[in-house]
């Protein structure tokens, strides 16, 4: 498993800092924003003000480190549901993407999803046509209550790449620097026309699957404790501290700014107008079918 930072935030074997500190700080900001959103959104869900929510908690380095390897002006980011900071970072500028010629696709999925047949079909086809795709597998050890070893007997999920004729690499998914490095390499390879790659980020889902779940039914608390000791955010903070770029004051400033950003977004969302019932028929077809038109008239009480 490729790693640059050890869990205490020290560079391994005298390695040189691979990224400039501003870039790492930017990554840390996204990671901290993500974690703060998790807490706030979970609270809103518990108050009945938000629907089902899936936290990123524990996987921030994996999501942020990979998404920061993309060029938002031309690359595609195709998330699952546990990549909120990546989506905030990139938005959905589809029109730009559809025209870009040298864009790369980074697609995210869990180790559970990688048991589905279509994952294998996609990898196989991508290998054959040398598609510019990075398959980013977040192995967080859980698929709802199903542990990773029930998904596959393969020791490494990255090794499957050999069967599709592409490189596969296992990376410490809680190490921002390492994730970013392997992601950059895979993106560069795709951009150069050399084809797809598979990245398996080893991380851990430190929270529930989503707000309907209760992990205490199936999760060993010791395992969660062990994961906490590998917390991706604390690791980056420790690293930056060692470089004189992080202290308590800075942490408070970050947290303050993040909290203001989230509250402003909530206020904005609350002010958004409620949709109208008549809108349910929009965008199914280019124009309403006769039966839809009849159903719409009935719904609106127009006879």
């Amino acid at each position: 498993m490729f790693q640059l930072l050890d869990p205490a935030g020290r560079l391994r074997n005298g390695a040189k800092p691979p990224l400039d500190d501003e870039f790492v700080l930017e990554g840390l900001r996204w990671m901290m924003l993500s974690r703060a959103i998790d807490a706030r959104a979970t609270g809103l869900q518990r108050q009945g003000r938000l629907g089902v929510f899936s936290p990123v908690l524990g996987q921030e380095a994996s999501v942020v480190g990979s998404a920061m390897a993309l060029d938002p002006t031309r690359d595609w980011l195709v998330p699952q549901y546990r990549e909120l900071p990546a989506m905030l970072m990139h938005g959905y500028p589809l029109h730009k993407h559809l025209l870009s010629k040298d864009g790369v696709v980074m697609t995210y999925f869990g180790e559970g999803a990688s048991s589905e047949g279509d994952f294998h079909e996609a990898c196989n086809l991508a290998g054959v046509v040398k598609a510019p795709v990075v398959f980013f597998l977040q192995n967080n050890n859980w698929a709802i209550s199903t542990p990773r070893q029930l998904q596959s007997s393969a020791g490494s999920l990255a090794e499957r790449a050999a069967g599709y004729g592409m490189p596969g690499v296992q990376v410490d998914g809680n190490d921002l620097l390492a994730v970013n490095q392997v992601s950059r390499e895979a993106v560069a390879r795709a951009r150069a026309g050399e084809g797809p790659s598979l990245i398996e980020a080893i991380t851990y889902r430190m929270s529930f699957h989503n707000t309907t779940d209760n992990p205490s039914k199936y999760q060993d608390p010791a395992e969660l404790e062990a994961a906490r000791a590998r917390d991706p955010i604390r690791r980056v903070q420790a690293y930056l501290k060692g470089r004189g770029m992080w202290d308590e004051k800075r942490e408070q400033e970050f947290e303050q700014a993040i909290s203001e950003e989230i509250e402003a977004a909530i206020v904005k969302a609350q002010k958004a107008p409620l949709p109208n019932r008549s809108q349910i028929f929009d965008n199914v077809f280019a124009e309403l079918t006769p039966r839809q038109a009849a159903q719409r008239r009935e719904l609106l009480g127009e006879g």
Partner: protein
Amino acid sequence: MAEKLFRAALREALLEEMERDESVYLIGEDIGVFGGAYRITEGLLEKFGEMRVVDAPIAEEVIVGSAIGAAMTGLRPVVEMMTVNFSLLAYDQVVQNAAKIRYMFGGKVSVPMVIRLPGGAGHQLSAQHSHSFEVLYGFIPGLLVVSPTTPEDAKGLLKSAIRTDNPVMFMESMSLYNTRGEVPDEEYLTPIGKAAVRREGADLTILGVSRQVVLALAAAQKLEDEDVDAEVIDLRSIRPLDWKTIVDSVKKTSRLLVVEEGWPTFGVSAEIAAGVQLRAFDYLDAPVNRIGGAEVPMPYNQQLEKAAIPSSEDIVKGALAMVGKKVSA
């Protein structure tokens, strides 16, 4: 008789059939320690062990495929699809294999498999997770398709489904899991292929598909205030259809309103309307009417979702129009 939750009745059926017959086993996603996404298999792993309660990788096609193979060679698998929406990934196995194997093997092999399919809307699960797919399975020869609406039938139909030698698609309305009803204490089976008259009436028949029966009964109550006496039928079996119960009722009331949550175009209600005009044309005083879901992917917003599925008010309105009345203010 004792009052039980719908979900508990389903669990009892599994438990009793697994105790009765060693060849019955369960397979699905998160059905073991977790007890299933809707808690239907809770405690069954502890009781029957890993050989009979199998937690599978997320791979619906092979979950169903392996169950078909097991069924062909003598076991009686009960598959839990986490929701009906994911059964699309296994549709090929169901249509091409489960439904056809008896035929293609000249009757020498059967597929005594049940697939449990929690479905329906109403939980803000949005466009891809709120389907009613009765039609998708109902139109395949070789499959039995049932859909209970009471705890009693949930248990009785599931036991019948496990015992028949045909593959059965067992549609469960997620919204009914926490409803209660009387369940007999003694052993019983609810026959597949029989509808049930839930309320007798003289003015029109309201036929509910799956959970719509519950809405139809509520509507019938309100219709009383308008001096309309509605008969309510619970379809229970989508394939085969119980024409006798439906036609007898239509002969009595002369009017039929069919309600389903799924899209009405090519819907279960379309099949029933076609069959009824053929069998009871001379008895009808009005065209068969039907109410179905809005022909759109399910909206996420709570209010929009409500607008996209039938309500008991919609049924009252439809029924009144059929007997020539308007909703009184």
